[in-house]
Symmetry: C2
Subunit: 290 residues, 2 copies
């Protein structure tokens, strides 16, 4: 069955997901987006994602074409039209059709909502651990979820060539900031360490993990320097589509014993419990606390 998407006011099928080339999202890469995960046909933290989408648009001075409440309603309508239960939904807002000077935004932004079925749930259980490289590439406007993923694509290409799975952005001080499409956490001296600044994009999964960790582990908000990697006990990535994914190798350094660590597994367990509770609460119409 055809997947249904939403493009500028219309529900469309796969073949109709086209956009005018003179849209600033293409011609000038002027666009923000967000991606929300669906489990069993239900949104996970949709409001957090829509709030971040609104913030991204605001920071990029892109005006929402309709209100966030209306976008919320369209998201639910789109969900009804798509029977797949495990999926992601991508919200893209661009600067709209370019004006005659070929650079200034139109007064009407474009809104695209894409539905991405997931063939199967990614299996990020404790036997799964990935290898990552570090890269001096960086994102422009790192605290905004813009569509500008050139650095990520180049970093991933480099990682794949080296037979690694992903890449971490490091800054000029050799501090590890974030992954190409994820946040990075470390355990060092049993303390959970993660960057927290305008140099990273603060993930929704990251927020959940931090809330779950509270009271269970001491937390330090700072980027880890690459010189500290060998003293780390554990490392993991967080992202909507990755949940909590163990990292067992960074460049040529093996983390801990090269397997997913105990504390990472503990957080994965807590995250799974949280997912259960979250969707139970959604069903009961209870407002979740995180």
């Amino acid at each position: 069955m055809d997947v249904v998407h939403y493009v500028n006011g219309k529900l469309v099928n796969e073949k109709e997901t086209v956009i005018n080339i003179f849209d600033l999202g293409l011609i000038r890469a002027y666009a923000v987006f967000d991606y929300v995960r669906l489990y069993n046909g239900k949104f996970f933290h949709l409001n957090d994602h829509l709030e971040r989408l609104q913030n991204s648009a605001h920071k990029m001075k892109i005006i929402l074409p309709i209100s966030i409440n209306d976008i919320h309603d369209i998201a639910h309508l789109l969900l009804e039209k798509n029977p797949q239960i495990d999926a992601g939904m991508r919200f893209i807002i661009t600067g709209g059709l370019v004006q005659s000077d070929l650079i200034s935004p139109s007064s009407i932004s474009s809104l695209i909502i894409l539905f991405h079925p997931l063939k199967s749930l990614p299996n990020y259980n404790d036997s799964n651990s990935i290898k990552v490289i570090t890269t001096k590439l960086s994102r422009i406007f790192p605290d905004v979820k813009s569509t500008n993923y050139t650095s990520a694509i180049l970093a991933l290409k480099e990682a794949y060539i080296k037979n690694y799975d992903d890449a971490l952005y490091i800054n000029d001080k050799n501090e590890i900031l974030e992954g190409t499409t994820s946040n990075i956490f470390f355990f060092k001296n049993k303390t959970l360490i993660t960057a927290d600044s305008s140099d990273i994009l603060k993930g929704i999964t990251r927020k959940v993990v931090l809330k779950l960790a509270e009271g269970n582990f001491p937390i330090e908000f700072r980027p880890l320097n690459i010189s500290e990697i060998e003293n780390c006990e554990e490392a993991f990535l967080t992202a909507s589509n990755k949940q909590i994914l163990s990292v067992s190798m960074i460049d040529d350094k093996i983390i801990g014993n090269g397997l997913a660590g105990e504390n990472t597994k503990k957080l994965q367990f807590m995250f799974n419990k949280y997912l259960e509770k979250y969707f139970f609460d959604v069903k009961q119409n209870i407002k979740t606390t995180i």
Copy 2:
């Protein structure tokens, strides 16, 4: 009469200039481009622009979908289809349709060639001088002509709000690098000064101007510090669509006497002569030297 464009192997009219939303040029802003100016229905330095397009694609690891020679031929075909004589042609190469992981490029890039009629020749003669602001915003991969113009759009918005015409990117050392869609030159102590590094995009008009200036003015290749603005005699921008455009005010500092300077006018005169010679040589099938 409808303007004709080229999209992925087809000549199309205005209404058909659409592209799949799953193209990496939109979904991940993964695309390079170039823009060449046409005077009286003839390309100005087309080969230089196509060479730079090829370099941009190479640096971004985007594979050309067809050879540069074939792109050259399509450019001429498109020109035949469009009777307008004063125009620009924009070549965009994107990473193509995204693969199932929603971030990796396809093996087939997209090629778009857009024809932009110019209503009239911009009148950048010596009575014309603009005001610009400086901005700490910067471009990512500055030596590549990628479609990532978010910084430019934000900088221009800021300039327009302040009733200025354009913006100049400055780095952390307060050095002036380039304009949002142009290169910047200064005259100080009768010496022509312009940045020359991987921090700027080297324009084709910049190259012509430097060649014309050779032997006529001493030339220094370095970015000017903003502290030096008040000691400057003249300033001007260069770009395919701006030619040589005098700058008479940077932030709150007036350059020289606030009018286009003598040396800028001299270079404008030389540039106009060069244009005449260039197109005379094209007509006579003589290879021009710059």
